[in-house]
Amino acid sequence: MVDIALGTALAAVGAGVAIGFAGLGSGLGQGMAAAGSVGAIAEDSDMFSKGIIFSALPETQAIYGFLIAILLLVFSGLLGGGEGLSTTAGIVAIGVGASIGFAGLGSGMGQGIAAASSVGAIVEDDEMFSKGIIFSALPETQAIYGFLISILLMVFGGILA
């Protein structure tokens, strides 16, 4: 069995939480936006490009989660074979993962619902495009907060030091 420090193992859990929950939110959101887009495209093929834009919006949460997970894996010594993390830093790493994971989950789902509704509104009235983009972008902020706090926790929690 590979000898892994407790802190590093905890960081691995944090990385899993980060990408797991953020990916779940992103997947659900993207699924909802795509379901709405397919319905719109079935009625109006010109909606393809707009549908793609709205379906791609909830992808960002998974990207944030993925980035944080990679950073945790690299700086905890799991990837690249560096020095392992202390137990305290490992506990901080779980907070890092939870921060972006749960924020990404809520943000992704919210964005998916808003994007699906926007697609419906645009296919009904083309002038709704810019308003739809604005409303669909709003739930992104929660993911950004989660991402920022994750970075701050890593910097000041001794992981990125």
Binding site: M32, S37, G39, E43, T87, L105, V123, E124
Partner: protein
């Protein structure tokens, strides 16, 4: 710090590995709770996303008020057809059928589309609505044979749509009403018509058969969403219920204008409506004329807007204005119900009502344009 935590864990008899297991279990539990709580609303929303987008796309293509008034301004029926031929939603239908049939087939196709795309939980009601065209066709066949129309005249009355069309189309060659009823054996309408047959044979009025079919349709529709448990079905139930009540009221208004009594109309009316319960319907049947009928309605939510229509009716004596008031109320109800569930059944109800209203308006315009010099202002008065 780490040593202190390790020491602390060891003092309570927990090894670092056990601690990790506890942390993982705690995270799994918290995660599971979060996922269950947050995804529950998604499960309600998800099945409606695709159908909502589809109906909203069609809603965006509905005729605007400006287009409708342009159509109403048309010189004759040919101009109406030309105008609608330039609208992609109507063009393919007008290439195949005359205007009246094209409108009916267009509406029937919309019912079919909706019944195909809506989630299973509410599908039964929409499937029933799509059967309306079958009932209309059976009624047309029966009426045509009763008055002795020839094959072509009968065929012209049929709407080439619905699940029974292939069965009904050859029946245009039937010799009598009873031949049609025999041919319908094995369909869900056979027993309904069989029950009404003695009354028809006695009175020789096709109304007996037609009203039996209408009553069966409305009862099935009302029962299709009975005791709805979830919000989308409740909203649909309200919409269907209001529609049924208004359709009962339309029958009442016509009956009261013709001076029909309780005994005359009771066999043709549902025994129980949505808001109009059995006792209220019995009360309404007792009304002597249209004015007292509106008075009897007091205490129901339908009384207010009919009181306004009554003033107009007393001036003109036309029940059409009553029917317009009822249709307007249904449109307003559909609008308020549709915003209750913007990602759900709402847009579907909103679209369906608007489409029905559009077809209703176009049929009014088409009828008016068949008459010479029918004033545009009068047409506009009749439009919803």
């Amino acid at each position: 710090m780490a040593d202190e935590i390790t020491a602390l864990l060891e003092t309570v008899g927990i090894t670092p590995e056990t601690f990790i297991v506890f942390v993982v279990i705690a995270l799994v539990v918290v995660g599971a709770v979060v996922v269950v709580v947050t995804t529950r609303p998604i499960l309600d929303i998800y099945p409606y996303l695709n159908p909502n987008a589809k109906v909203r796309a069609r809603k965006g293509r509905l005729l605007t008020e400006k287009q409708l008034s342009e159509i109403a301004d048309a010189k004759d029926i040919g101009e109406v057809e030309n105008y609608l031929s330039g609208i992609p939603d109507y063009a393919p239908y007008l290439e195949k059928y005359p205007l009246d049939t094209a409108l009916e087939v267009n509406l029937a196709d919309n019912y079919n589309m909706i019944s195909r795309v809506v989630p299973e939980k509410v599908q039964s009601s929409f499937k029933l609505m799509s059967k309306k065209v079958d009932i209309t066709n059976i009624k047309s066949l029966i009426s045509a044979k009763d008055v002795g129309y020839n094959v072509q005249q009968t065929k012209d009355l049929l709407i080439p749509s619905g699940s029974l069309y292939d069965l009904l189309e050859p029946l245009t060659e039937a010799d009598s009403v009873s031949d049609i009823l025999t041919a319908l054996d094995g369909t869900e309408y056979a027993s309904i018509l069989e029950d009404a047959l003695p009354r028809y044979e006695e009175s020789q009025m096709v109304l007996e058969l037609e009203s039996a079919l209408d009553k069966y349709y409305l009862e099935s529709l009302l029962n299709s969403t009975e005791v709805p448990a979830e919000e989308n079905s409740q909203i649909l139930y309200s919409y269907i219920g209001i529609g049924i009540d208004l359709s009962i009221l339309k029958t009442f208004v016509r009956a009261k204008q013709d001076g029909l009594t309780y005994n005359n109309i009771s066999p043709y009316i549902l025994t129980d409506g949505y808001q109009l319960r059995e006792w209220k319907l019995k009360d309404l049947m007792e009304a002597n004329d249209v004015s007292s009928f509106v008075t009897y309605l007091e205490g129901t939510k339908y009384s207010e807007f009919l009181s306004d229509a009554l003033t107009e009716y007393e001036k003109t004596g036309s029940v059409t204005l009553f029917e317009k008031a009822l249709d307007l109320h249904l449109a307003e109800s559909a609008k308020s119900l549709s915003i209750k569930k913007p990602i759900g059944i709402g847009p579907i109800i909103g679209y369906l009502n608007k489409k029905e209203t559009e077809i209703r308006n176009l049929k009014i315009i088409a009828r008016a344009k068949k008459e010479t010099n029918y004033p545009v202002s009068k047409i506009m008065e009749l439009l919803v």
